[in-house]
Symmetry: C2
Subunit: 619 residues, 2 copies
């Protein structure tokens, strides 16, 4: 096993400059205006025709010689013979002579001879004639040829991102195509023997996982204005990888890989770069993102991103997206934008490297934004959707104080959650949240949920032990016990049987409040936890022990009656636990909090009656 | 001609309620996560599998039984035989027995028997063995099965708009498809005999125009989250229109037309609605937008928008887009968003109706936004791209004061211009602007440009007469005269010849400063303007008279030598006019203004030397 150390880390600025110098340009292409929506004009567009292309009636009415209406009024109308009628799209087949009129609809050509239009409201229609009850001047109610846009005039600026309105103007000019900056084609290459694509059957025992980065980086490329092309290479063979990358290089403007560039077993990419390209940067003083690799491979710009999903996305957002946007439209990259937020709690950092701190955002009672640091590391896939962007902490910074204002670089333009809940993973509460759009719920242990509420972060907390801060909003009881296979084949009757040996038990993690209830009951019944086979094998999800039982990996598991019913398993009741929903008092004015209140009022009883083993409690 | 008056206008609220009641929903459809990007989850997504699906090595190193490392240190390493090596994607083929180790790479399955990983940094590799130089505890450097996301856990909230990160998480869960709210299919029906599609050859003499609304409304539908389907019916025949609309109704969730709903000749749509549907609203107290029509046609929701491009888009933005977004994602509609801005000048309005005032936006020296009312009406196509959104003026409002803060409802998320210039249409200045991205230039007469600069609206003004306010930034001279056909077939020699009769002259509009220079010269040479055939036929664009000459519609036209050269026409020089570029002193700090300065420094001399008849002047 050869190992590569990052002895000479580049600075973030050096990495940015190296990526800029790669010059990932897509060039210019012609597109129809409709297909060009969202793209950026490469050149100025001048009008090649007059708009309108003819003197145009601007009102429904009568085209006349203005001089013929001289002196006309309500009291003394002038009567003119109507010699023709014109609608939009009609070529005039008559000339308006002295004392004559032609009926016109808005948008019709002003017929030759006429120099004004009398609005229909100021006329009285007769048989083959019209009474004109007002005098008009030459040019009245006429839009002259070219008055909107004259041939030769500048119509659209270079660099304009084409929206609906620009498409409309280009249509008015009759443009079939326009030159736009071509979005760079970006190869998103997924590598690794362990990767499966969604839809394929996973074999976890062989360490297989679904490919996350291939999808999230491809989507991020598109969000940054590029065109993503995915490549998947699951062979570990250097020749196969070389083949895939060389094909991708021939077809795209930028190659992206993720993982396999850190010190470790997967140095194939680094070697390929040395053999078939040029290495500009390997290792950057940024956390996460140290293994960033920049260079050219097979004559194509190449960036190797870190492997952890959030690291890969953060580094892409910070270093690569701006370079993609530069070639097309800086504002596209900026669309995700920066948001100012107040940092909820102090963040410490043993500096020395730039840190990209992943944070979540929540709106406080005044409509301002509060940022909180992620509870999980960049290796967790869930951090992807539990955070909204990154805060840059400079290498020389070691502390960001609670309450300080930070600039959050958003990952994308996804709206931030309407409501932030934290606490226990309770199926009934999740069903309550189903009635509201775009809520976020972070699983936290009781003590952590209470602390977060005290720090003013979430809108609501759901806990086993009531939290001291906040307003108690609702509560209910849920029945818990031992989940067993249907028919209870091991013949368990109470908790004491777990300690008799010969039974595999599946426990819940201490972060879930039900575990506290279980431990209290063991102590009350004087059962020695260490005598329970599997007591220390705590599982992470509220359903995990029950699912272990269903899969035959355990004889009994700690869980809810509701879970046993959902998974069609047997259940031995042990106790009932009270859960409390506590509201952050500063958030009572939020629309989403009011929405939650009404949902509790209207739907809680119904929801509880539908979940097995749930019952309401008197407030 | 039957006429329909709007005797009972609905209120804007009634129109909104009627459109909401149409319930334009797209339903739910299954999409692959990648195709679902930008769409909104219809239901909650729970994890169906554990992520990771196995106990996973979190570091490169050695999988061991933690108990075997007890007491190990740098000074007293423990040596363990290495019985196997595992990479990500390898199924373990060995069990770690007491006193044994298996080499693992990050992401590999923790082999059976092992309960911890010793990081490679704390080991020394031997032949078939490893020296462990630290003690580890059970669980160290291992990510347990389901620790990221446990089967049964809530993974994504209903209502989540799927961004790159959500796509990544769905990939991790192995989801092939997810239920998303289907964007409503919206029929954008263009009607009118006068309409041509871009690419077709226009016959302006027959009043033909290119279809603007079909394109701009279709693009606005897509920007609001819908799926636009275009239909074009150029036949005036009621049966043909009925056929087209009934086909469109069968294929879509909402029918949109524009124009043909106002009082006038085109009442076919109103009659169709009465015969084959239901009319809910006809006429709304809003300006522009009075002829708004709402109902159901062939069992499909129907909205008839006004015909003028800006009116159609404003009414769509205000009344229809929110209803489209409601079915899918309110935040998509809000993406265009509201911007606060300071109104530059007082706006008067003879109220009684809600007014949607189209305004342009510019960033001032402090980065704040200034709004200015459009110079052109809603009938002008150019207003589409010279404004950025609308300000709602309530019916009871008659004046908005200069300096008041207004909420601008953006038409879309197109970035506002970087630099706002106003004044004379000068080809050389436009070429200067070509070097900057996303500039806006509004053509204004000298006096208006000076007034706008005094009101603090534009960044720069370009005028013939120097303006009293601001800093003179640059200036140049341009040669002007009579543009004639090649070879000067009419044998003109000076301005006096124009008044001799028999020659058709094409003049410039008084809004272009060159016209002032021309009029002064006529007066100096004692030439009677009224004796010039065509003097009063003033044309709107700087190139319009020259283009009239090129098209054979005039014998001579007022214009620049540069235009004559560009259009390959003859030229009789008459004079030279000085143009001045004046900077708004409050904007000197703007990046775009600094960009303009550098471009003037670097490129002005070169640009002037490339334009025929231009020369620099000493500042």
């Amino acid at each position: 096993m050869t190992r590569r150390e990052f002895r000479d880390l580049s600075t973030p600025r050096e990495a940015t400059e190296a990526i800029d110098a790669l010059d990932v340009g897509g060039g210019v292409e012609e597109q129809s205006p409709v297909e060009a929506r969202g793209l950026v004009l490469a050149e100025r567009i001048d009008a090649e025709i007059d708009v309108p292309g003819f003197d145009r009636a601007a009102m429904d009415g009568y085209a006349v010689r203005a001089a013929d209406t001289f002196g006309a009024s309500e009291g003394e109308p002038v009567t003119l013979p109507v010699i023709a009628s014109l609608k939009p799209g009609n070529a005039p087949d008559a000339t308006v002579g002295e004392g004559e009129a032609v009926q016109v609809a808005t948008g019709a050509v002003l017929p030759p001879g006429a120099d004004a239009v009398v609005p229909v409201e100021r006329t009285v229609e007769g048989e083959d004639s019209v009474e004109v009850r007002t005098a008009v001047a030459p040019g009245d109610s006429v839009m002259p040829r070219g008055a909107d846009l004259a041939a030769g005039d500048r119509a659209l600026a270079p660099g304009t991102r084409l929206g609906p309105r620009h498409v409309g103007l280009l249509a008015a000019l009759g443009r079939e195509t326009v030159p736009v900056r071509r979005p760079p084609r970006v190869a998103v290459v997924s590598t690794g023997e362990e990767l499966l694509q969604p839809g394929a059957k996973l074999d976890p025992s062989a360490g297989q996982i679904y490919d996350v980065n291939g999808h999230s980086i491809a989507a991020a490329v598109e969000a940054a204005g590029g065109k993503a092309v995915r490549y998947v290479e699951t062979s570990d063979d250097a020749a196969a990888l070389r083949e895939t990358l060389s094909a991708a290089a021939a077809e795209t403007d930028l190659l992206l890989t993720s993982g396999s560039t850190s010190a470790g077993t997967g140095d194939v990419l680094v070697e390929l770069l040395e053999e078939h390209g040029e290495r500009l940067v390997h290792g950057v003083a940024v956390k996460p993102g140290r293994p960033l690799l920049v260079g050219r491979l097979f004559d194509t710009p190449y960036v190797g991103l870190p492997g952890y999903p959030v690291s890969a996305l953060s580094v892409f957002r910070t270093f690569v997206a701006p370079a993609l946007g530069e070639g097309i439209d800086q504002s596209a990259t900026d669309a995700a934008g920066e948001t100012e937020a107040t940092l909820a709690t102090r963040v410490r950092y043993d500096g020395g490297r730039l840190r990209l701190l992943a944070v979540g955002l929540v709106t406080d009672g005044d409509g301002d934004r509060v940022a909180y640091a992620s509870t999980k590391g960049s290796g967790a896939t869930t951090t992807l959707v539990e955070t909204d962007g990154v805060v840059r902490m400079a290498p020389e910074t070691s502390v960001l104080a609670a309450g300080s204002t930070v600039a959050v670089e958003r990952f994308d333009d996804a709206p931030i959650p309407t409501l932030l809940g934290v606490g226990d993973p309770d199926p009934a509460f999740w069903r309550l949240l189903d009635g509201l759009d775009r809520t976020r719920y972070l699983r936290l242990a009781d003590a952590d949920a209470g602390r977060w509420l005290a720090d003013g972060i979430p809108d609501v907390a759901v806990t086993g032990e009531p939290t001291p801060d906040g307003e108690e909003l609702a509560g209910w009881r849920r029945e818990w016990g031992l989940v067993v296979p249907q028919g209870n084949p091991a013949g368990l009757s109470d908790l004491g049987d777990l300690a008799d040996g010969g039974r595999q038990f599946a426990n819940l993690d201490v972060s879930i409040s039900l575990r506290d209830a279980f431990d209290e009951r063991l102590e009350a019944q004087d059962v020695d936890p260490d005598a329970i086979d599997g007591y220390h094998r705590a599982l992470p999800g509220i359903e995990s022990p029950a699912r272990s039982v269903a899969a035959g990996r355990a004889d009994a598991g700690l869980g809810l009656r509701a879970t046993a019913t959902d998974l069609d398993l047997g259940f031995l009741p042990v106790g009932s636990q009270r859960l409390t929903v506590t509201l952050n008092r500063d958030r009572t004015g939020k629309a989403s909090v009011q929405g939650l209140r009404s949902r509790l009022d209207e739907s809680l009883d119904g929801l509880l009656s539908e979940e097995a083993g749930y019952e309401s409690v008197d407030q």
